[in-house]
């Protein structure tokens, strides 16, 4: 019994560790040179973690969600065994990068320094 409980604790701590790791990675990304903002969107399209103001986050969330779905359906239609891993939109002012992961979306807006 005790062993099982310890095993349970271990698993929990590993998820806690994993969480801390991901948080740290996000912090590093945000602190990186040229990064304007980061938004994490959950499966329902709601920003769960963002460094931009609410209205902008919601706007990015809605628009990029649709685009990512379209891009994913393009990739998968051409070959169903393939899947979208990353999407980059380079505009005059900055670059929007979208990393989909299952139903979640991680959006980063960066200004690549010339």
């Amino acid at each position: 019994m005790c062993i099982c409980k310890l095993a349970h604790l271990d698993q929990k701590s590993s998820t806690g560790e994993k969480q801390a790791e991901v948080e740290e990675t996000l912090k590093r990304i945000q602190a990186h040179k040229g990064v304007i903002g980061t938004v994490v969107i959950n499966a329902e399209g709601i920003p769960i973690r963002t460094t931009l103001d609410n209205s902008t986050s919601v706007q990015y969330a809605g628009l990029l969600h649709q685009l990512t779905m379209k891009a994913r359906s393009i990739v998968r239609d051409i070959d169903p065994q393939n899947d979208l891993t990353f999407l980059r939109i380079r505009s005059k002012k900055h670059e929007i990068m979208v990393a989909p992961d299952k139903d979640y979306l991680l959006i980063v807006i960066q200004n690549p320094c010339e």
């Binding site: 590093r28 359906s73 065994q81 979640y104």
Partner: protein, 692 residues
């Protein structure tokens, strides 16, 4: 009848033009008479000619005067419609008055019949002709389209084919056919010939649809899920022996996942976050990434034979700022991943150690971080299990880190009981698995022992392989005892082909050639250097050649059958490390404590370096180690401040020998061996040559 009606109309029209109102009757009589005349003429032609013309007058004929009879009345035939009104007047609400309409429609339709002929060249005509011609071929075309679709989706292609074929042949149920046809409607694979598919289902553009019916990939996903479920059920059947523990684990796993799915868990984007970090870094260091991939120094053509090193990324971590890089090694599996060991060479300032794994894809943060109490002095990746790293510490311990596990502690570690070294471990090297398939590695230390460590049942078991005692090392101790002084090993290297053969460099400057089989005796001793041998390394191609470097400022190349070195290079400063390049048997690089990296190519210049470049700030920093990347033309250099700098080799430094025209460029280890042999032959004494 119609003829008579026409007459009447004519009569009516000619009224206004003629100016005379002729009563309708006499013309009728005249026409009747004419008819009778005609019939009579036809019937009694002969009689008429014979008999005199007698005018037969009907009783109601109009009496006309001669003048009137001779009058000519003009008749005009027009295309006007007699039924159409001559003038039409309509009430205009706008003008509140009647308005005459000038144009009156004159068309009278006598007869209309809708035909069913279409021109051959029209769209519909073409479609029909195609349909007629492909009616016979339609059945086989559809099966091929369907079967290739099925093959994409299902793993068991053969069963899929037979299923589809069977359905087609049987004539299938309507739904099965429609689904198959719907699949065929999607961009068909190459099985379908180049023909226009008739649109039987009113195919509309996907972009203009609001709701998209099952996509091809949704169907694929459903199949994959089914397959996985089947596999899982099979596994469950197999592993019934380990039921209790596994079940509990699974339950816990399930409980945890259910908790996670309820809340917005950030761990779900861990993979995405990792990729994103690399992309952000790529954007920031875009020019370096481009240089790494594409830049080839064009000025090398004009530089005679010299080359340069182009600095690329610099890797540093704030926790290792005080530590020196003591070991670097590339991962055998992932060519962009490398491990860096941190510690301190200073005897007095010993602190903690760190093991970091960096990837070229993310220059700003290491992938793995491990910390230890004692400084790390050496490390080595296992070739068969690239997630295992063997590490040697300053306090004499060795450990194995498992990268697959999440902990930051080593999986296995030696201890004072289990035979750790009493002096710093200077080098560790993995060996092939022993006969029981246990992992094993060797370590060399200043305490003069070379120890083989084997991982048996999750424990490190040590075996002393050799003790570096030699002639002239026995001393007279107190009370007449003979003390055996052991040499201090500082580096070693195993031969690539001959398993048992290995070389050990010592602090006294000697290099011993040893074999694993003979534990008490050396095969040979080379009086190599005047100071400690920092690194010794076999040539990756040539079986007899090895290189050694030392703090006595020299780098020497040897043939292990000959006691004297083949080539000696003096580099004006203590040499920290020397490595052969993986792509050529004649290229090697050395680093010195004055911050310079030297790259030599024996086939081009036997006496001088092709490139001597300052890599780190001269006075404050010393370079400690160097490594070539196995695939890319990149070297990494570690220094005393905890920085690792990556540099790209310019084309001159990686030149392959030019072949004469007409000959193929030979590649492969034999060529490399031959190249080096040629050079060695020039250097060898004719006596030894004859002696062989």
């Amino acid at each position: 009848m119609p003829a008579k009606a026409g007459d009447r109309h004519r009569q009516g029209q000619s009224g206004p033009s003629g100016g005379k109102a002729v009563p309708p009757r006499p013309p009728k009589a005249v026409s009747r008479k004419r008819d009778e005349d005609v019939s009579m003429e036809a019937g009694d032609g002969v009689d008429e000619w014979a008999a005199a013309k007698t005018l037969v007058k009907p009783p109601d004929q109009l009496e006309l005067t001669e003048a009137e009879l001779k009058e000519e009345i003009t008749r005009i035939l027009t295309a006007n419609n007699p039924h159409a009104p001559q003038n039409i007047v309509r009430y205009s609400f706008k003008k509140r008055a009647y308005k005459p309409i000038n144009y009156v429609d004159q068309m009278a339709v006598h007869f209309s019949l809708n035909g069913n002929m279409i021109p051959k060249d029209s769209d519909e005509g073409r479609r029909q002709s195609i349909r007629l011609s492909t009616a016979a071929e339609k059945a086989p075309v559809e099966t091929s389209a369907v079967t290739s679709e099925e093959a994409e989706i299902k793993d068991e292609a053969s069963t899929g084919n037979t299923q589809a074929a069977g359905e087609e042949e049987a004539g299938g149920s309507g739904t099965a056919e429609t689904t198959e046809r719907a699949e065929a409607e999607e961009p068909p694979p190459s099985g379908v010939k180049e023909q226009k598919l008739a649109n039987q289902f009113n195919f509309t553009e996907r972009a203009s649809r609001t709701l998209n019916n099952p996509m091809q990939w949704e169907i694929y996903d459903a199949y994959v899920e089914e397959l996985q479920k089947m596999e899982r059920s099979k596994e469950k059947e197999k592993s019934k022996a380990q039921v209790p523990k596994r079940e509990e684990e699974k339950k816990k796993g399930r409980r945890l996942t259910s908790l996670e799915s309820q809340s917005d868990d950030i761990t779900k984007i861990s993979k995405a976050a990792k990729i994103m970090e690399r992309m952000v870094n790529q954007n920031t260091f875009d020019d370096i990434a481009q240089d790494f991939k594409y830049f080839e120094d064009a000025s090398d053509e004009y530089r005679d034979q010299e080359g340069t090193l182009l600095p690329l990324w610099k890797f540093q971590y704030d926790k290792t700022k005080r530590l020196a890089v003591t070991a670097i090694s590339w991962n055998p599996k992932y060519k962009d991943l490398f491990a860096v060991g941190y510690g301190s060479y200073d005897f007095l300032k010993q602190g903690q150690g760190m093991l970091l794994l960096y990837t070229l894809k993310n220059p700003s943060f290491p992938e793995y971080v491990f910390s230890s109490e004692s400084g790390i002095m050496c490390l080595d990746f296992n070739n068969d299990h690239p997630y295992l790293v063997a590490v040697g510490f300053y306090d004499g311990n060795v450990a194995i880190y498992n990268l697959k596990k999440a902990t930051s502690q080593p999986s296995y570690k030696s201890s004072a009981n289990s035979g750790k070294h009493t002096e710093p471990v200077w080098q560790v090297k993995w060996q092939k698995d022993d006969m029981d398939n246990n992992l094993n590695f060797f370590s060399v230390s200043s305490d003069g022992r070379i120890v083989s460590w084997t991982l048996v049942k999750n424990e490190l078991v040590h075996t002393d392989v050799i003790k570096l005692s030699g002639e002239g090392t026995t001393m007279q101790g107190p009370e007449g005892l003979q003390l055996q002084m052991l040499g201090s090993g500082t580096s070693f290297d195993f031969h690539k082909k001959i398993d048992n053969l290995f070389l050990v460099g010592t602090e006294e400057g000697k290099i011993y050639k040893c074999s694993k089989c003979y534990s008490s005796q050396f095969l040979d001793v080379f009086e190599a250097h005047h100071m400690a041998v920092d690194s010794v390394s076999w040539n990756p191609y040539h079986l007899k050649v090895f290189i050694s470097c030392s703090s006595d400022w020299t780098v020497k190349i040897w043939d292990h059958t000959i006691k004297t070195p083949m080539f000696v290079y003096d580099l004006n400063s203590a040499v920290g490390d020397v490595v052969w390049s993986p792509y050529s048997s004649t290229v090697f690089a050395a680093v010195t404590t004055d911050g310079k990296a030297h790259v030599f190519d024996l086939s081009i210049n036997k006496y001088e370096a092709l490139c001597t470049q300052l890599v780190v700030a001269k006075k404050k920093n010393k370079i400690t180690h160097i490594q070539f990347n196995p695939v890319y033309p990149v070297i990494i250099v570690g220094d005393e401040r905890g920085h690792v700098t990556s540099l790209k080799l310019s084309p001159n430094l990686r030149r392959m020998p030019k072949e004469k025209k007409g000959q193929e460029v030979k590649k492969g280890p034999e060529v490399e061996i031959a190249k080096l042999d040629k050079l060695l032959n020039l250097v060898r004494d004719p006596e030894t040559k004859a002696g062989k």
